[in-house]
């Protein structure tokens, strides 16, 4: 029964061949293969971990962005509000100062007019007085030759003067 009785030759060669194969493959094939498989798995693991971390960071960043945006908006609104207040104040101040200036100008104009009027009146009075004196001189020169005429003329003059 050769089928079930192992031959010494085949046992010898098989042991030798398989042992050699085991040594060669163990040294030159399985060692680097297993090593790079482990390395690759580690690197994939690491990469997945990194990606997860990056995603989390992105999420955080997104959140903070929204917050930042909201803050910026608030700040802008506040700035605008402030600017509006300042503008209103400036306009108000300008208006007030303009009114004051105008009042002042009007006041001084009034004063000038009053002064001019007074000066004019004084001048007029002086001129009237001069004219009166001149008239009186002339009348006197002409009428004083007669007594009656002097009186009549004086009366007339008085009448005329009181009309002023």
């Amino acid at each position: 029964m050769e089928l079930v009785s192992p031959g010494i030759g085949l046992i010898f060669w098989m042991t030798l061949a398989f042992g050699t194969l085991l040594l060669i493959l163990g040294r030159f094939a399985w060692k680097p293969i297993m090593k790079s498989l482990t390395e690759r798995e580690d690197s994939i693991d690491e990469a997945l971990h990194q990606a997860d971390k990056a995603r989390q960071e992105m999420l955080d960043m997104k959140f903070s962005n929204v917050q930042l945006l909201a803050e910026a908006k608030e700040e802008r609104d506040a700035l605008l509000q402030q600017a509006r207040v300042i503008k209103d104040k400036i306009i108000e101040e300008a208006r007030e100062s303009a009114t004051a200036e105008a009042n002042r100008i009007i006041e001084s104009a009034h004063e000038t007019i009053e002064n001019d009027k007074k000066a004019a009146l004084v001048d007029l009075r002086n001129q009237i007085a001069m004219l009166s004196i001149e008239i009186a001189e002339k009348v006197l020169q002409r009428e004083l030759d007669s007594k009656e005429k002097q009186n009549a003329y004086a009366d007339e003059l008085i009448r005329k003067t009181s009309l002023n």
């Binding site: 060669w13 061949a17 398989f18």
Partner: protein, 391 residues
């Protein structure tokens, strides 16, 4: 023409037909209908040939036919055409009576000649083995007769199986060393080419077999052996299914080969065994004391179990692979058995035989993987038992 020849034709035809299954069926049916037609189909045109050229017209012996193809041989038969036999002569290495004899098997002229007093036994208990032929001179007879020496020479020949083992060793070395180079060159990148074909298998052995059976901590030490074991068995199982030259040797269906593999497992198991393993054998925990004390019943059973494990590994692989080959050969034998009865019956049964043989071949592809897997898994389980620490 030799039986080998038929086998070759049948198998090569079959192999081709495996690829063109539908075409074959139509062709075979057509042939079966036109009985006696001379258009040759590879599996049937050998039908007329004699079973053995030495004994013409000898009755076809299916048992012999099958066994001849399953056991080892001193030369590698490739093909025969008529009286021309294309064989690969292999070196014969003998150690006999303190002397080394090395010569090529072609000296035996396919088993018909003697060389240096050695010959291949054609029959008897030593059939197929190399024996020394002794010359005897019976006293009452002047003729010289040759008898086989009962003392067999130690045969270290590079037989068909040894040659096939060397071929697969070279194939595996080339394959995995080149893959290892790819791994180094493309470290950190995705697998490519043949690397991506074999990586799932490597990962399968590592994650499902080694890590599952031995454990995360200690599995690494056994990976080289488990991987080598798996791919050696798997490749040889597949090569055994290939009917043409580099394949065809029934390596994993040889008890010496499977025995050596099992012995490797046995030695690795026992050399790496821890305290817990030996405890389990000599002082089995959880067993009543009277099973161990006066008569060491349990230790005997456990010790026996140590040796049955590799034995079972040996027989399982050997029997599975051999059985598959026997069944396929059996289907082909049917063609010749029926062919001897009548030509038409031979042609008709060939259709059935081929269909069944194809089915068997497909099944054998599955078995080739399963047996490699089972052998590796059980080895890993034994390593796991050996390195297990106390519960």
């Amino acid at each position: 023409m030799k039986i080998m020849n038929k086998h070759f034709h049948i198998k090569s035809g079959l192999w081709r037909n495996l690829l063109i299954f539908g075409g074959l069926l139509l062709f075979a049916v057509f042939q079966a209908m036109s009985l006696g037609g001379q258009t040759g189909h590879p599996q049937t045109d050998v039908h007329h040939k004699n079973v053995q050229d030495t004994v013409p017209k000898a009755a076809f012996n299916a048992g012999e036919f099958i066994i001849d193809h399953i056991v080892d041989a001193h030369e590698w038969h490739i093909l025969s055409v008529g009286d021309f036999h294309l064989t690969l002569p292999l070196p014969v290495i003998l150690w006999h009576k303190g002397a080394l004899h090395v010569f090529m098997s072609s000296r035996f002229n396919h088993g018909h000649a003697q060389y240096k007093g050695f010959a291949i036994a054609n029959e008897g208990d030593n059939k197929g083995k190399i024996v020394e032929m002794l010359t005897v001179h019976p006293q009452d007879d002047q003729r010289i007769t040759m008898v086989e020496n009962e003392e067999l020479p130690l045969d270290f020949s590079i037989t068909k199986n040894v040659c096939s083992i060397f071929i697969s060793v070279i194939l595996l070395t080339w394959l995995f060393v080149s893959i290892a180079r790819t791994y180094r060159r493309r470290s950190g990148k995705a697998p490519k080419g043949i690397q991506s074909l074999l990586e799932p298998l490597i990962l399968f052995i590592r994650d499902d077999i080694a890590k599952g059976s031995i454990g995360e901590k200690k599995y690494e030490r056994y990976m080289p052996f488990l991987l080598t074991l798996f791919f050696f068995i798997f490749l040889n199982n597949l090569l055994g299914l290939v009917p043409i030259f580099p394949g065809g040797a029934n390596v994993t269906g040889n008890i010496a080969v499977t025995g050596v593999l099992a012995l490797f497992t046995f030695f690795i198991t026992n050399l790496s065994a821890g305290r817990s393993y030996w405890m389990h054998i000599f002082n089995t925990p959880g067993v009543p004391w009277w099973l161990k004390m006066p008569l060491p019943l349990m230790p005997i059973v456990e010790l026996f179990g140590m040796f049955t494990k590799p034995f079972v590994l040996t027989v399982r692989l050997f029997a599975n692979m051999t059985a598959g080959h026997i069944i396929v050969m059996g289907f082909f034998s049917l063609i010749f058995i029926f062919g001897e009865m009548s030509l038409g019956a031979g042609y008709s049964i060939s259709v059935v035989s081929v269909v069944f043989a194809i089915f068997m071949y497909v099944l054998e592809l599955l078995v080739a993987f399963i047996q490699a897997y089972v052998f590796t898994l059980l080895s890993a389980l034994y390593f796991g038992m050996a390195t297990e620490e106390g519960h």
